[in-house]
Amino acid sequence: MILAALLFVPLAAGALSAFARKRAWMEAINLAGFAIAFVLALVLAGEVLRRGTVSLWGDFLYADHLSALVALLTTSIALVCAVYAVGYLRDDEQSGAIEDEPAAKLRKYYTLTPLFVFSMLAVVLANNLGVMWAAIEATTLASVFLVTFYGKVTSLEAAWKYAIIGGVGLSMALFGTIVAYYSAQHLAGSGELSSLNWSVLAGRAAFLDKPAMRLAFVLVLLGYGTKAGLAPMHTWKPDAYSEAPVPSAAILSSVMLNCALYGLVRFYVLTSRCLGTEYPGRLLLLFGMLSMGISVPFVLVQKNFRRLLAYHTIDHAGIMVTALGIGGKLACLGLMLHMTFHTVAKSLLFLCAGNVYQYFHTDLFHKIKGGVLRVMPLTGAVFLMAILAIIGMPPFSLFQSEFVIVRAAFAGGHAAAGGLFILFGTGVFAGALLHVGSLVLGPAGAPVAPRRPWRDSSLVVLGAVLIAIGFWLPAPLLDLIRGAARIVTGD
């Protein structure tokens, strides 16, 4: 029941917002919907920890540790972004950033965001790989009009790129799914709906048709890799992230990335159980290294801080794919830790960037000329802290997860990958620190900004979480992360 409720709540919130008359109603529906969804995700995590797996409707919906972890991350960020969005959109309306038809635009935002979250939850709760594909495609369709929110020429271009590259990429993933279905066709019970269920296929992975699985994995890697923004299919990412309204960009860059990686991880499990870890591992390492490598020059020369964060997300998608490619217990634990930490830190960074953007009305470094810390003390401080966290400075949590991944790389005999990891990491470290340091520090170039309760409170909460998880992970969350890593390694 919990699974159906978790899907139903955001869907209902989207439907209600479509018919709500006043802005206050839409805000309240969104806040309430995401708060309930967050509680439900917590309950689901508890159930999964107690019973191992939860399923409904003859295994049509299915949740294990991995699904529960991603669902929990999705709903928590959705809730924080919903709080932030209230202040953000009111500010936009007052400053005239959405001057033509503000009511219609607000309705669009408050309707599409819950639908977007619904489709992401459907990705992690669907057991059938075909249904999972349809849900991932739905995340693109639900978020295209969030990218065009401001209706500028550039946002149309960004949305077009996002939709077409995403559509072509995902068609490859569908082809991969069909081939995976074919690879199980000679087994008993084929042709039924359940024969494409992950839980069924994972149990029989050793008997799948090997050449077919080989092809299926390549196609799925290209497809979901496009959705995750792995190089060289990453070109839509900086455009979409810098054009979408900031709360949507935060969701896109953190939890939608998780959903795409989730799809990839599910197929990795099947492929590694069928063909061994070496074949998928090599491909994943290739794409991971390429993504990390490509992001370095773009981070170094970046002029726009939202695009900087987007290239940073490409780097982190590369890190996570690399961790999956290394394989083994330690790297998979590192992957799940990194996914959790990255989600918190990256969405926090986007929210900080949104505050700066709205106050200065630009996202170019040279126009702001530094001093954010003096103009907006809270935003500046959190921004600096979050950037230090995400580039892997101790004592923040991402240092731990990246350290675990590098250790696993050297221990697993991937010395070249480990060395490149450190090299690229240093490049991104230098670039991001230089840019954000010059943005945040320095003399004030503008009058001190007023306090903004909605946005500041979400920054404080997420910032506190980021500090806390650097020192202490709650035992149930750690169990969930360990369980998710165990699903990947299969023991």
Binding site: G130, A135, E137, G151, G191, P211
Partner: protein, 227 residues
């Protein structure tokens, strides 16, 4: 044995239709009129639905009848109507502006078909014959469709024609699904078709707004010159 129960006859029918689908795809890659392109797409989708129907008939696969019917509804009726309306509203007739010219496009499509046949070789299972192998010939066509669709998305510059290329990619996938596995489970097929329909709507609105924005940009330029 009655002709309509003879699997060899079924095999011939399916192969013939697959060949026609491929011819239509190459025709689409090589011509420039957008309305014709939409109609060729409708005809191709109709042939695919007919293939699904034939395979369902010879294999007694009930869910494939439903998939065939839905394909007929969505891809032969709804999507072409939506696209033709869009073409009418934005007032373009001949918008396909390919990077590579038509003869070369056809040549490249032919080459990609060859690649499709080579890839499909690895899926041949000699131990399967008769009814079970029905439609396996179509796999090569499906892969070719996919590759040509891929080429078409890259080759076309204008928004609406890219949507058509994306739809062709999807047709290739549908053919792959029916020829490899007699279609995906019904709920998956439903989900995919729903996504196709929503994608056409979303992309259609986007095309319309791109067109609108760029026209208004032209108008503003005219005003500036007057001042």
């Amino acid at each position: 044995m009655h002709t309509f129960q003879d699997p060899q006859f079924g095999d011939k029918v399916v192969t013939l239709m697959a060949a026609l689908v491929l011819v239509l795809q190459i025709a689409m890659a090589g011509q420039r009129w957008i309305v014709t392109n939409i109609r060729i797409f409708a005809a191709q989708s109709f042939l695919l639905a007919a293939m699904a129907f034939t395979i369902a008939w010879f294999n007694h696969a009930a869910h494939l009848y439903v998939a065939a019917g839905l394909t007929l509804l969505v891809k032969v009726v709804l999507v072409p109507i939506l696209l033709e309306r869009l073409v009418e509203r934005i007032g373009i007739r001949r918008e396909i502006d390919p990077i590579v010219n038509a003869p070369l496009s056809v040549l490249i499509s032919g080459g990609l078909t060859l690649v499709g046949y080579i890839i499909a070789e690895s899926f041949q299972r000699p131990e399967q014959a008769g009814v079970a192998a029905l439609g396996h010939n179509a796999l090569a066509v499906a892969i070719s469709l996919f590759l040509i669709g891929f080429f078409m998305t890259i080759n076309r510059r204008k928004a609406l024609t890219q949507v058509l290329a994306l739809l062709c990619l999807e047709n290739g996938l549908f053919l792959a699904a029916i020829s490899l596995t007699y279609g995906m489970p019904l709920i998956v097929e439903l989900g995919v078709l729903f996504d196709v329909l929503v994608a056409v709507l979303v992309l259609g609105i986007l095309v319309y707004r791109i067109r609108e924005t760029f026209e208004s940009m032209d108008v503003s330029r005219l005003r500036r010159l007057r001042g």
